[in-house]
Every structure is written in structure tokens, then in C-alpha cells.
Symmetry: C2
Subunit: 1009 residues, 2 copies
């Protein structure tokens, strides 16, 4: 059977959209969207008619191939089709929000009216039918952003389907799936006012369409200044939502369909609602306020918020109130609210979707304490969705224990891709990262949080990419959930293909890389929280590397944007170019500022000034980019770039600071500073300074090139001359002159040609097998003679197993730090360390019901290792899977193991988030397993918890354990324990000899390959 | 009897200088200086002739009034005069370096040869006669710097003396008194080479003249590149010294009249001296090296250095050597050296002045330890001066205990007014301060260090002021020593009068103030050690006040220099203008840099830029000033300004850094920052920042004006409006506009007129007697509304004794910090504290043999309190004098007492430097006395001792004791204990609530007056 849609068919009236006479109003409206989509694809718009009208006007000619749209809960079309044997609806009738999508041969039908074949979209209910129609749009190559972002589909002359398209959709995985427009000033608010004249139905029509096309069904409206049930105007917003099948909720602190702003306007000494947001002192007024809210909107489809918080999202009772006072209050509130709901919405209250948010302090009221029973298990909460939440930074807070998961109302999750609050807000531009969203929301689902997922998307704009993933995951968990380890990358591929169908395969791949890349960098540090002190300006070259990475992405984005065809150009700007450039330009600006400070601090005045210039360029670029956003496409997005986003000193923009530029002054005489890039070690070689540099690159057996850098910082031209073991070390340039302000990088290789191609040649002719050779270079300049010691690792590691990490520190035998009087302004350089990427384990051991799994591209620097099943608490040494890292040590002794783990919060009230750790020489049978806490016992989430603050800003938790290592190969094992633990990185160093601090930590060190 | 010198007399041959035929050659040479001095004063030069020649050529006419010069140890003139009854020499004959200065009537003399009256200068010996002649110069108004600095005397037509000038001089207090030219490159070296062609006798003639005119008799020559006994050329330098009675020593590590540089040139595989500065491996060569040194110069007057250090002033044996090895070595060295001295200098070795320096590690060799007896008491050291030393920063190290003071050779002191070494050198310009020199060297004398005082004066130039005081003190301890508490100021007055006789009384007073002022600031922080982090840029306004102080001195110096007459102009430049401007300009440059950084950090871009401009001006001024020094007076001082002196990062100039300038960028919108000057508290008043400011000025009952400061930091014009309790608080300006970059300071007074004139009106009408009133002001600006709380102290303190310090902290009753949510970027402001200047004690208690004495202008901020007798160790509570401070507390509780004391080193090997402390309510009978250590038990002096480093750089030691205070008036007593303790300041605060850090500490708080 063939089914063809084409411009010709449409113009001939053959491809009409045929609708059940009694169809839901909203379905009909969405049929209009579908007609529009078809026009966008084929260039002609099919008409929409009801069966009745079609019959009446003889609109259906022979050989017609309409799209037949019907819901099983309306009229009798579906029944007839079933009766005629065209479709079996028995399964569909048991489901919600589902649809059958099927090519049907109508010849057998009683009333075929000339219809030949048809594409039947039969929904289980209003939303089922809507999703079914939008499924067709999807098949036609229409982006869900066709309306919201004006993403145009590829024109087609015709499109033919066969029976392979037939399907019966699944029920959506999560019951209520939606987003929350929040923190909407200045961006969304200005945009909305200019474009639509207010937060009205003209605006919400677009928002609802976006939601439905993304397979969501639920939302919370903007609420900073807006009143959704009044701004339509009147009830228009709410009625439109209801018509379209969008279930409305309100934010966690807006009970009984009343917006927070409303009370502010209605209260007063003369008000019928009284003049205090106080259920104790003004019970009557408040009850009436709620009552009128339910009267106004209770007839529409809602998830009604119950419970109560203070005004402006604050605590409800004062500091003096006890836990008991608070619990009693909420209990009374719930009782009153439930009574009102029974009276004004539905006497069978179980049928009324209700939600209470266990947000911030309310969590404590729910659980109670030893002396005061909390709300948990209270009959007033029967059937109420318990809405849990993340920590505002995308990490789940407490989740239901196994015994709690059967709560009748189920659970919800309030997640954030935008946040306004302590310690630092992020509202400007998307900084959410798919692997993190996937990892956390999959866990939420596994913990039984399946009834409501709502995500705060701020202004919506620029979060489309992670938002669409979030809703897709909620809609089809089976496809995208925990077991699909490639979900984020697979989704990104799909996303790019959908939005940019005309990109070449190569450009599409690049675009995926850009989306992943910018959002990874932004999630490592959000733009508002970025400042000059975040990334270390010198150590491990992390700042310089990140600058390079930003440059690479930005150049690529520029290039692709320039090359985009007319179809892709505007969507590319919205979805890729703007969020990427906005994010990375701010990152770079701060990184440049760091370089400026670092160079000024070594008096490299000209080099510092060059970076100062770059900072200014970034500042200008930022403004130009936002101007462009505000004017492109006839100013469609005017307002959306208005949020402050540079240098937050408080949690919000108040008193935010632009970068402070440092200017050094040139010394009077020619002077050259010699530096070892990637370290803070530098000297001008003055004899008395006692400074010696160490080029430790060749301690790694796989390094082929080491670098030194010279800055000419003084007035006049300065000469330099490199001497020393130049027979052993090949120096790219041995002498030269640098004008004032110039710099040069000199490359050092081993002269015997070993390691030439970066291959792992551990043998240099000199000192081979002795473990270490040591050479020396001198850099003579007008200001001194710098000694650079160049130790070369010549150890024979051939007996070591592949993947073994090898200690290559400065304190290797014969190279004790005594030989290296590296006196850097009274601070010694570290003797050495081992740094391990978690994904590079030497071995791993699964157990019957437990395995460590690598989450790719998840960590700040590489991947993350997480134990499955996600909800299981393991006992290390008993039933826990483990990772094994082979570590070769030069010396036995006390070492510190530092673990970098995802900043997850403890899953349960016991506040435990641990992993197991054991260390022992390879042949040791049962080394002791210690449990390591990734957070302190006193760890808390939220305002004024400084450990949490550090974790969410840095996107990492760091914890330590001191262990004894043997000489030779040790086995370091990491055991799964509490759910939520994700290992990203390990660093091992001699106790009290930590490597230099930096944001991302030391880069991975050498392992046998 | 009248004695008249006049131009006429000189021209008529009446004022000849008549010398004993057999007089010392050196005396004759100095008579030439005297003749020159007389010419400088009277415009005619008297001739010098011997008695014999005078007789022969009939040069003496009737009525002649010559200056008769003779030494008792030459010829027979002195004997004849005594015989003739003209002078009684019996006393003089018993003394050294003394003279009789007397008008004599020659009529009774046997051979009067026409001489009528004469001015007889009869010396006990060569130096006595020389000092006698120079005494006449002094009386004629000739500066000791007439030669060295070209300070010209006031011209006189005649000068008449009567018998009131007659005197017999005292013996100098200290046997050997002199200075050490050191660290002479680049300054002295370049100067000397250009002016004299080397370190030769042409140069040393001036140096010796300076020494003798300053009443010194001893010196160590430059030794970095020079070889004194060869550069004369040949022995000329040494012979000239001997001729003039200058006793030569060499530095502490140059034994047997051999300069350190010599061995470097003479050593070698073929050398007769061998090729190792190693007494163990090359005993023969080293012995011969010393032998030849003694042969060369042993016949001249020397203090011969004995002992041995390593090359370049380093340790003699390697790290592996034990204390015993070292002691044995030095013992052997001494034995050899003494034998050589017996052989080549004087077999009666007791008659040969010898010195061994107990410098750095040698100190340990001297004392030994429990297992190995040190050199103390060794017969080889009999009669050898034990030279002790300061810590290179003007603080004595260990001194002789009472039992040790009878060492036969006596003791010496090596003091520093210039230093090249760790932690930071100071060589550029004088930074020594008279009160400190006086306090320390008086103590040295009292501890029995009276045989040798040598001071390192670097290049000499600019240290003339403290150097001349040092030598004056050594010459006449009775006059200037410990009992003369006004010695420094008295000497400064004398110094100014001598150098600038033509200044008006007022200008002379100002000049004294300038000398004291600049050297005080420089000694608080030496220029090389100054950097942007020293003084706090905001707290207590210490930086702004110091800028003002520098400005005041610099303006005054400029004015006086401009007004100087021809006579004073050049000396004023050398002695006042140059060292003052050089010092203070560098201080200011760093203070400006601090203001620049502080303002940039609050985004006050324009205000920061204004300070950046000032920094640049200082940099330019520094260069111009040195250029001026190098060209003034025909380039006489070319070279003397060459030392680097800005931003030392190491102990010497290597890699030194100029200031780094910070530039903020203007925010896009009008924004105003409101600050409380003298604190780091500032805000733009954003509601969400949670910041409240506190203007705590009126917590002091004697404050009449409080200030707030506004900076307009954003683009465009910004308005401000001040409201609140403006009926209670009079605000100088309540509204206005500030252009971008502008700033304004607003004054707040109490509106009821109380405290109008800064008088102590503790009563304001509102809340009088209740302890405290509290008002509030609001500063509204485009960026927010700042709340400023203004607490006003209304307590009635009339019952408190005068001088009582009163707790006026923010945590006074009704003003607990809870009422002040001062959230400054997560750091709370201090609740309050009491700060006490040591000199402002309420009472003090002397004991029979003990009293606390105030040393004025001695402390960093005011005076110092030191116990007399200087050498006594007291037992607090038994025989110790004490100081008493009455302190009124609002609350009883645990407080920390922080003491700021002079960075003295413990006087004895037991490493103790303590004081006693007791605290108790006024009526308590016997509060516990605790002993407080001003330094840790592990305190050590010298390289790599970080506590010592901090102390000498900051010129303070800070120590703490926690004590319980009662509510109401407490008596805090400070008891004398170990010698060396000088109390400068006390700060008391609630435990763990320290006031904000700053360099000088919090300023003195309110006391009843």
C-alpha cells in the first residue's frame, strides 16, 4: 500500500485532513498546525474538514488520500474504523496520550465516500491524537521548532509512505512532562512585551505549541510579574491551555491556582483576603483567596499545587518557629486546601491531580525528626504528587527510598536549566549539558520519580537543545533512559539532523561537536560564575588549552554559520552560533584576563598588554553579539540577551564587575624571563635568586618535545644563548635576539632521535635502564644565566601490564628534590604525582547484580564511572562491583588519594555518599577496604552551605584518603557503595606533597600503552 | 683673656698654626685641614709652621696669637708649657685620644718669641691632638661634612674667644669607633671610579677625613672588588690611614689583614697559597697567605681580624660537618693566626688589637652545646675583642651575660645601616632612624659592649645623619647615652644647626621634622621592601593618611629647598631633600598602587585610573631625582643613586618588579558605590545583596564628623539622594549628581549640635544616658538604595577616670552584631576592639631598681615603653616595674590581648624575651600574672627564619594572650621581664573576633580625656 502526499494532491483536494465531527477543539486547532506544516513542506495547504462537512460538500472525491484524525473518546469514527476492521483499537483504549498511526485501505469501509487509502491518526484521547498528528509532521521532516524558532523544513514535491510507518505509540513514560518559564526579567519579559504586548494568549499559543511539539503536556507559567489566569486577557491563557491539552501547574509555592503576584495586588486592610500572607493570623482571608482561585480555574485541567511557602518563595514561619509549629501549620493548610478542592473542583479528590513541593525547608517538614512526626504518610497527602527537586544546579537532592516509592500520588522532580539564587545565578544563556541531564534524570526515573517532571528553563530561548532532550527522555524513557549509554550523543545527532537537514554529513558532525563542546565548557563553569580566579593561568596549561579549545569551536562555528544556506542560517544562529559564541566569548575573556594577570606578575608588560587588548575585544564582541541577537530576523528576539552575565560578585547581577586589567611597567634594562610552560616556574637566571628550573617533560616516557618560553620584558633588545648538554638535547634555536616585548618558545628534543614521533621509546642511549639520565641547559641573557635541569626517564617498564600508571615524579631515584633546589618564591614545586582518568581503569570486576559503567564525555576532563543498577546501595567487599587501577610506585610510603567525583548530593536522609577504596601491592590478598565520604557528615544543600556551593560552582566534589602504597605495582580499587557516586578522576601524591592547585586538577599522567 | 681670630690677623701672620717640631705627620696633615677650615670661615688661610721654623724665620711677631698644637707624646713643647705653668697635663697624660683646649697667656713662658696669647691644643696622643684641632673647627662653625659634602661654613670677619672655651676633653667612650663601606656596587664603586679612578688614597683621604671629623678612629674598607692594601696604589691607603691615626680593620671574615678578594686572585694550582680556601686541606697555603698579609701591613695600626669564614662570607665547612668539627677547626685556625701575629707583629700579642666576629654560625661555635665545648674561654681568644652583631636590621642579637662581661678583650658590635642579604636588602638610600639606633646602641653599651663599634654604612652617602649620631654616641656616651631620653631629637637639632646655620629658627625646626619624619617612615618600611601589599589600602585609612604625611613632608622639603640660600642649598639637597624625596616618593608610589588596586576592585574605573596616573608620575619622579643627583654640583655624586630599589622579589634586586597597575572597565549603566572611608565596606545598595553599611564614627564619643564617600562608576551621570534620619543627622549634601568617574565625600554631624567642635559631648538629646541611640540614613542611587546605620554613643562616662580606654564596639548593648547584617562578601566586620598606644598608660609603678620609661617618637605609631635599667631581668610580681592601663568593658568574657612590640631579639642564649601581663577588675587584689613570650621558643635569627623575617621587614613583633576581662573597669598591667622588651601598642578584642588586619594595626581608640 502506498500513500502519497504531494503539492498536486493537496491542490487537487486529495490530501485533506479529515476530522471527526465531535473532535476536541484542541485537536482541530492542532490539525491547523499540521496543515501549516504540510504547506511549509509541499508549498500548498490542505483544507481541514469534518466528516460531516466533507460528506455534505462532496469534498471527497474518488481516490482521495486524506489524513483521518480522530480520538477514541469522541464521536464514533474510531468505532466505525474498528468495526470495519481497519484498525484494532483494543490496546489503545487502555492507554493515555497514545495513538495509532496507520495507512488504511478504506475499500472495506461502510462509508468510504470515495476515499481510497488514508493515513489514520487515531488517538486514545486529545493529547494522543495531537501527538499522532505531530508524529506525521516529524515524518515530513518538520522541526518541533518550526513555530518557536522559525526553523523551516526542506521543501519536497511529494512524499510517499508505505506500511512501514504503521505504529501504535507507547504511553509516555512520565505522566506530567513540562517546563517552567522563570526569572523572566529582563529577557523574556521585554521580549514578550515587545512582541505580544504582554504575557497573553498570543504569546502562550507559541509556548504551548513548543511544548506539545516537544511531546510535553504540562507547564508552569511565568510568574515574576505576570498573572497567568488574568493576562490572557482574563482566563484566555488558561482556557487556551485547556483546549490544547496543556495541563497547567503553578510553581511550587503557588497553591490553589493562585499566582504569587496576585496576593500582592489583592491584599489590604479593606481586602476580603485580609492583609497578611499568614494562615494563622489571617486564615479566613487566605482561605478565601484560595477558594476564589479554585472557583476561577478549577474546571480546567490542572495539577493543583497544595501546601504553602512564604511570600517571594521564602520560609513560611519566622526563625523562632519550631519544626513542630511548621508541620502543624502545613497540615492545617493541606486540610483546608483539600476541602476547598473537594468543594470546587471534584468531590472525588483522588481524581484531582495535586502536587506538593518538598522544596528547601519543606523537605524537613515532610520527614520530621525524632520528636515530631513529619507529613510523610499523612492522609491529606494521599494521591498528592510529592515533588522533589534538584539542588538548583542539576543534581538531585534526596530521592525516595525503596520503601517510600509506593506513595500513591507518585513523585515529581523539579529540575533546573536556569536558576536565580545563591550562590550564583545562571539565566543568560544555556549552560546545561546533556550527559549530566541524562545521568541525573535517568536516576530520578529509576528511583521511581515518574509522575511529574518539570524543568525551569528561564527564558526558554537557548535552552531548546537540552529542553527538547529532557522532554524526549520523559516521553520515551525506554529509548533514551539509563540503559542507552549513548543517549546524549545519539540525541544530539538526531537534533542536528532535524534542525539542519541540509547540512553535509561532515558539517552535521561538526555541529554536533559544537553543541556538545560549548555546553560542556559552560557546564564546567557557567558564564556568570566565571571569573579570573577559576582556571589556573599557568599550571598544567589548563587555561591556555581551554583558550585553544574555545578558539577552535568559535572558528568552526563562524565558518559553519557563514556557509549555512538560507534554510539553516537563522536556526543555526539561534541554536548553535549565538549560545556558543556568547558562552565561549565570556569564558575566553576571563581566561585572557588570567593570562594578563599572570604575565603582568612576571613583568612581561607587553605580553600582558596584548592580552588586555584581547579582553577588550571580547567585551566588544559580547555587546555586538547581543546587538545582533536583538536585531536579527526583524528583531524577533529583541530582549532575550538582556541579562547581565559578567563577573557576578553576588548571587545576582548586582554590583557585578567587568574584568580588571593589570598593566606592568617595563623594566629599564633588557631582561628576559625564562618560563617552563604549564608551571609557574620562571626566572631571569640571577645567580643570587637561587632559582633553578626543571623541564620535567621527559620524565614521561612518551614525551617527544619539551618546551621553554622566553619573554623579553625590559627596554631595548635582549639576546639569549642556550648552551649545556646540547649534544644530548636538540634545541630548536640556540641563540637569538628578542625585541622589547617579544617572546619565543623553544622546543627541546632528545638528540639521539629516540621518542622522535612521540612513540613510547623509554630507552635513551645514555643511562638506559639506569632509570634516569639527567641533562642540563643554560639560558644566558642580559639579566642572568638560567639553569634548566632536564631529567630523562630511561626506566625499562616492559614488564608492566598495559594500562599501569607509572610514577614519574621528580623524586624518582637519583632525582630527589634535594637535587632540585627549585625555590619559587619560597614555595617548592611538587615532587611528583599520578593522575588518573576514571575511565582508564586497568580492570574492572562486575558482580551478579552490579557493574561499573562508563558515561562518556561526562566528566570535566573525560568520562565518569557510575555503578548500575543506579538505585542500589552496595556493600564494598561483599556485593559491590569495583574498578581496578594498577599503579607503579618508585617508593613505598604514605600517599594521599584524591578523588574527583561528580557533585552529587547524598540520595537519602542519612546524608551518606561513599565509595570503597583499597590499596595494596598487586599480590596482596585482602587489602583493607575503607569507606570514603565524598561529602562531610555535615554536608548540606542550599543557601549558606559552603561545601555545596563550591561543588556546584566548580561542578566537582573533591575528597581525600591517605593510604600506604608498596614499592612496585599496587592495585587501587574503587568499590561502588552509595547510589549517585560517579568517579571522574584520581590523583595520588605523597602525603603533604600535593601538586599545585588548579581548577581541573593535574592532567592525566603516564600509563603504559 | 681674649683670643681673636680674624682675616686681618691671619693676613698679618698673627693667627699662625704653630706646631711642635717633632709632631706626628698625621697631626701636621690635619693642621692643614684646620688651616683650610679657617680660610673657609675668614677668607684667609693661616700658615702652619713648626716652632723651629717660626723661630728661624722670625715668623712670630709681637702680639701674635697663634694656635699652638702639640701632643704630649712628641717633642718637648708640651713639657715646656707644663713647666711654664701654662697647662696642667697630669691628667691628660693618663688618657688616650684626649686633649686640652685652652687659651694661654704666654708672658710667663721662657721662650715666648713674641707670642702674646695662644690657643693651645695639647693632645694626649696623635688622635687626641687631631680631635683637639677639629674641636676648634667645630667652634668656628665648621661642619664635619665640610670636605665630604662640601658644606660651607658661615663667613665671619673675626671670632673672639675667652676662657669659657677652656676644656679638657674626656676619653672617648668606645675604644674603636668607625664605619664600614660595604655593598659598594653599583653606587659607591661607580662614584669612586669616576671621581678618583679607583678605591685609592685620593678617595680614602676624604673618607678618613670624614671619619676623624665625626670623631671616629676605626674603619673597614670597601671589599667587594677592592683590595685596600694594594689599591693605594700599593700600601698608600694603609699608610695614609696609619699616618692619620685611623685604625684599620677588615670585615668580620677577612683575617690577618688579607682582603677576601685577594685569595681569589692569588690562588691556583701553581700558587704558593694553594688552590683551596680550606684550612684542613690547604693549611700550608692558607697559613702562608695570612703570613704575607701580616708581613705586609702588620707594622701599621690595625685591629686584626682572626678566625675564619667561608669564601664570599659563607659557612666554613659543609653541611655534613658537626659542630665539633667546626669548633676544632676554628681553634686550630686561631692558634696558627696567633702564632703568626706573635712572629710578625708583636711578640707581646696582648698589645695587638685583635677581633673575632661571632657572626651568624660562628656564634654557635663560640657557645658550643651540651656535648661540645665552644670557643668561649679559650686561651687563644684572650685579649681578643669578641665582636657581636645586630641581626642586620638594627636589632642586637645575643649580648654578654653579666658573668661574661669581664672578657679581657672586651666586646664589639657590628651594626647595620645598610644590608645586602636575606630577606630583603636595603642599600639605596638611608632608612635608619635615630631613636632606634640610640635605643639599641645604648643597650649595647650598657651590656658592656664598649671596645669596638662598627657600622655598615653601605655607600656612606645619605647615611651621614644616622652615622654621625652613631659616632657621636660612641664618642660621648655620657652625654648621648641611655639616660638622655631626648638624645635623638637633641642631636637632630644640633645636626641641623651645624649643617644649616643660616636657616631661620622656624625653618630649622621644620628641617628637624623632615629628617625625623622621612627616616621614621623609611624605618617603618624600607623602600626596597615596600610593595603594594604592605599598608592596607582601606582599613583605618592608614594608607591614605600615610600618603598625606608623605605629601606634607615632600611639599615642605620642596619649599625649604627652594628657599635655601647659596650656603644651604647644596647641603640641603644632599642631607634632606634627596634622601627624603627618594624615600617618600617610592613609599607613595606603592601606596598609590594600593589605592589603584582597591578602587579597581570596586569597579571605580576612573578613580583607579587617576591613581594609576599618580603611580606613573612617581616612577618618572624617581628617575628625574636620580638624574638630578647624578648631575648636581658638577656631577659630584654621579653613581650614588644607581642601586635598584623598587619592588624586590628576592633579597636583592634580581627580578625586581615595578608596580602593576589595575584597570577596571566602566559598567554600562550609571552606578554609584557608597563606601565608609577607613573600612572595606562598600555597596551599591542592591536589595538582594543583603549589604548594610555601618557608619561607626559616632560610637567614639569624641567624634564630631563622620564621612561617607560616593564613587560614580558607571557610564553616564548618576544621581544620589540621601534620606532617613536627617532630622537627627546633619548631612552636608543631601542630593546631587555625579558625572561618570566623579566622587564626593559627604559629612555627617549630629543635628542637635552636640560634639560640634569635636569636644567630648557624650550626650545627645535623644537617648541620652541610655547608652546608645541609633539612626539610619539611606543613599538612593540609580543602582540601589543603601542603608547606613549610624549608632551614636550616648553613654555617660563621667564616673570613669581620665585616661581609661572605653569599649565602643558595635556590639555595645542594643547594638549586637545581629542587628548589623554586615555581609561583606561572606566576611563579617569586627564587633569592636580597644587599641592602646603604649605611652598612654593610665598609671605606672616604679620599683627601687626599675622603671618604665617612654621613648618618644620611637614606635611605628607613637612611642615605646622600655624598662630601665636596660640590662636587668625582672621577675614580674616580685621586683618588676609595671604599666597600668584602665580598660572599660561593656561585657565580661574572654578577650585576646595583642601586643605590638619592637622586633628585638632575645638577649641571651635561653631565647627568652617575655613580659608579664595581668588583667583583673579594678578592685581585684591579685590577678594572675602570666608571662607572655614575644617570640616563639623556636625563634631564630637570620636566613630562612620566617618569624624573624616578618619582624624585621614589618619592624614589629606581634604576640597574643587570651585573658578574661570583667564587666566595667579592668586594670591591665604590663610587667617588665627580659631586657630588650619595648611595648608599642596593645589591641584588645573578643576572642576570635580580631579587627581587620592592617600594617600598623587599628588606630588608637577612645579614652577618657
Amino acid at each position: 500500500m502506498q500513500y502519497c502526499i504531494s503539492k498536486e494532491n493537496i491542490l487537487n483536494g486529495k490530501n485533506k485532513i479529515l476530522i471527526e465531527d465531535k473532535e476536541h477543539k484542541g485537536t482541530v486547532r492542532v490539525a491547523g498546525w499540521l496543515a501549516g506544516d504540510m504547506e511549509a513542506v509541499f508549498g500548498a495547504k490542505p483544507s481541514i474538514c469534518t466528516i460531516q462537512s466533507a460528506k455534505a460538500d462532496e469534498g471527497l472525491c474518488d481516490g482521495t488520500m486524506p489524513v483521518i484524525v480522530t480520538s477514541v473518546d469522541t464521536g464514533d469514527l474510531a468505532d466505525k474504523l474498528e468495526k470495519d476492521g481497519v484498525a484494532d483499537l483494543s490496546n489503545l483504549r487502555k492507554k493515555r496520550e497514545s495513538y495509532i498511526f496507520k495507512l488504511v485501505n478504506m475499500h472495506a469501509c461502510e462509508e468510504r465516500n470515495g476515499v481510497n487509502t488514508a493515513l489514520a491518526v487515531i488517538g486514545s484521547d486529545k493529547r494522543g491524537t495531537i501527538y499522532g498528528m505531530l508524529h506525521l509532521s516529524e515524518l515530513l521532516g518538520v522541526s518541533p521548532f518550526i513555530d518557536w524558532l522559525d526553523v523551516k523544513p526542506v521543501h519536497r514535491d511529494e512524499m510517499t509512505f508505505d506500511e512501514t510507518v504503521n505504529m501504535e505509540s507507547k504511553e509516555p513514560s512520565v505522566r506530567y512532562r513540562g517546563f517552567f518559564i522563570n526569572d523572566e526579567w529582563p529577557a523574556f519579559g521585554n521580549w514578550c512585551n515587545k512582541r505580544f504586548g504582554g504575557f497573553n494568549a498570543k504569546c502562550y499559543e507559541h509556548v504551548f505549541e513548543l511544548l506539545l511539539r516537544l511531546k510535553g503536556n504540562y507547564m508552569w507559567p511565568a510568574m515574576w510579574s505576570a498573572i497567568f489566569p488574568q493576562d490572557g486577557p482574563d482566563l484566555l491563557n488558561a482556557e487556551l491551555a485547556d483546549e490544547l491539552g496543556v495541563v497547567m501547574g503553578m510553581s511550587h509555592h503557588e497553591p490553589c491556582l493562585r499566582q504569587g503576584e496576585e496576593y500582592k495586588y489583592l491584599r489590604g486592610p479593606e481586602s476580603i483576603y485580609g492583609d497578611a500572607w499568614d494562615f494563622r493570623k489571617n486564615k479566613e482571608g487566605i482561605t478565601r483567596f484560595w477558594e476564589d482561585g479554585l472557583k476561577r480555574g478549577g474546571h480546567l485541567e490542572n495539577v493543583i499545587t497544595v501546601g504553602m511557602r512564604g511570600e517571594f518563595d521564602s520560609t513560611i514561619l519566622g526563625k523562632e518557629a519550631t519544626l513542630g509549629d511548621n508541620i502543624d501549620l502545613i497540615r492545617d493548610v493541606l486540610k483546608t486546601q483539600n476541602e476547598l478542592i473537594r468543594k470546587y473542583v471534584n468531590s472525588d479528590i483522588e481524581k484531582v491531580p495535586r502536587m506538593i513541593a518538598l522544596y528547601k525547608e519543606v523537605e524537613a517538614f515532610y520527614y520530621g525528626d525524632d520528636t515530631y512526626k513529619g507529613l510523610q504518610g499523612d492522609p491529606e497527602l494521599d494521591g498528592v504528587i510529592l515533588m522533589l527537586c534538584d539542588d538548583n544546579f542539576g543534581n538531585l537532592r534526596t530521592v525516595p527510598k525503596e520503601s517510600e516509592r509506593d506513595h500513591k500520588g507518585g513523585y515529581g522532580m523539579y529540575y533546573h536549566m536556569d536558576y536565580h539564587g545563591w550562590p550564583i545565578s545562571y539565566e543568560w544563556v544555556n549552560s546545561s549539558y546533556l550527559p549530566k541531564v541524562w545521568e541525573q534524570m535517568s536516576a530520578a526515573y529509576e528511583f521511581g520519580i515518574r509522575d511529574l517532571w518539570i524543568v525551569n528553563v528561564g527564558d526558554i530561548f537557548t535552552t531548546e537543545y537540552p529542553l527538547s532532550f529532557f522532554l524526549e527522555l520523559a516521553y520515551d524513557y525506554e529509548k533514551w533512559g539509563a540503559t542507552n549509554l549513548n543517549a546524549p550523543s545519539e540525541y544530539t545527532k538526531k537534533f542536528v539532523r532535524t534542525q539542519f537537514p541540509t547540512l553535509s554529513a561532515e558539517d552535521a558532525k561538526s555541529t554536533e561537536e559544537l553543541l556538545t563542546g560549548y555546553s560542556h565548557i559552560a557546564s564546567n563553569r557557567r558564564p556568570e560564575a566565571m571569573n579570573v580566579d577559576v582556571y589556573d593561568s599557568v599550571w598544567y596549561g589548563e587555561s591556555e588549552e581551554l583558550i585553544d579549545e574555545c578558539d577552535r569551536y568559535m572558528s568552526l562555528a563562524k565558518k559553519l554559520y557563514k556557509e549555512c544556506d538560507d534554510l539553516s542560517s537563522y536556526p543555526f544562529f539561534e541554536l548553535v552560533y549565538y549560545p556558543l559564541m556568547a558562552n565561549l566569548n565570556v569564558q575566553k575573556m576571563w581566561l585572557y584576563t588570567g593570562q594578563n594577570h599572570a604575565l603582568a606578575s612576571i613583568d612581561a608588560a607587553d605580553a600582558a598588554a596584548e592580552y588586555a587588548r584581547k579582553v577588550s575585544e571580547c567585551m566588544a564582541f559580547d555587546r555586538d553579539l547581543i546587538d545582533k541577537l536583538h536585531t536579527i530576523h526583524d528583531g524577533m528576539w529583541y530582549g532575550m540577551g538582556m541579562s547581565e552575565h559578567i563577573g557576578f560578585n553576588f548571587w545576582n547581577e548586582e554590583e557585578c564587575s567587568f574584568p580588571v586589567i593589570h598593566s606592568a611597567m617595563r623594566p629599564d634594562k633588557p631582561r628576559i624571563v625564562t618560563c617552563i610552560p604549564g608551571t609557574d616556574r620562571h626566572t631571569e637566571g640571577g645567580f643570587w635568586t637561587g632559582m633553578t628550573l626543571v623541564l620535567d617533560a621527559f620524565l614521561r616516557p612518551d614525551t617527544s618535545v619539551g618546551k621553554i618560553r622566553l619573554y623579553s620584558i625590559g627596554e631595548g633588545e635582549a639576546w639569549y644563548k642556550i648552551s649545556g648538554d646540547t649534544d644530548k638535547l636538540q634545541v630548536s634555536v640556540t641563540e637569538g635576539k628578542l625585541k622589547c616585548g617579544e617572546q619565543t618558545e623553544i622546543e627541546i628534543c632528545l638528540a639521539d632521535g629516540s621518542r622522535k614521533n612521540g612513540t613510547d621509546m623509554t630507552q635513551v642511549s645514555e643511562g638506559a635502564g639506569s632509570g634516569c639520565a639527567e641533562y642540563v641547559l643554560y639560558v644566558e641573557t642580559p639579566s642572568g644565566k638560567t639553569t634548566i635541569r632536564v631529567p630523562v626517564n630511561t626506566e625499562d617498564y616492559s614488564s608492566l601490564k598495559k594500562g599501569t600508571y607509572v610514577w614519574c615524579g621528580l623524586d624518582r631515584k637519583g632525582l630527589s628534590s634535594e637535587h632540585y633546589p627549585v625555590r619559587t618564591a619560597e614555595k617548592c614545586a611538587p615532587a611528583g604525582f599520578i593522575s588518573i582518568e576514571a575511565g582508564h581503569y586497568t580492570d574492572k570486576q562486575d558482580v551478579a547484580d552490579g557493574t561499573f559503567t562508563e558515561i562518556e564525555a561526562y566528566g570535566r576532563t573525560l568520562s565518569g564511572m557510575k555503578a548500575y543498577p543506579l538505585v542500589k546501595r552496595f556493600t564494598p567487599g561483599v556485593d559491590a562491583p569495583f574498578l581496578e587501577y594498577d599503579v607503579y610506585m618508585e617508593d613505598a610510603g604514605e600517599y594521599t588519594v584524591r578523588a574527583y567525583v561528580t557533585p552529587a548530593n547524598p540520595p537519602y536522609k542519612d546524608n551518606l555518599l561513599r565509595f570503597g577504596l583499597s590499596v595494596g601491592s598487586k599480590d596482596m590478598s585482602d587489602p583493607e577496604i575503607v569507606l570514603v565520604d565524598t561529602v562531610a557528615k555535615s554536608f548540606g544543600v542550599g543557601d549558606d552551605n559552603y561545601a555545596w556551593k563550591q561543588g556546584v560552582l566548580d561542578n566537582i566534589h573533591i575528597c581525600h584518603a591517605d593510604r600506604t602504597f608498596a614499592k612496585g605495582v599496587n592495585s587501587l580499587k574503587i568499590y561502588a557503595c552509595d547510589p549517585g557516586f560517579v568517579l571522574q578522576k584520581l590523583v595520588i601524591y605523597k602525603k603533604d606533597k600535593a601538586p599545585a592547585d588548579s581548577y581541573l586538577g593535574p592532567k592525566e599522567t603516564y600509563r603504559i600503552c
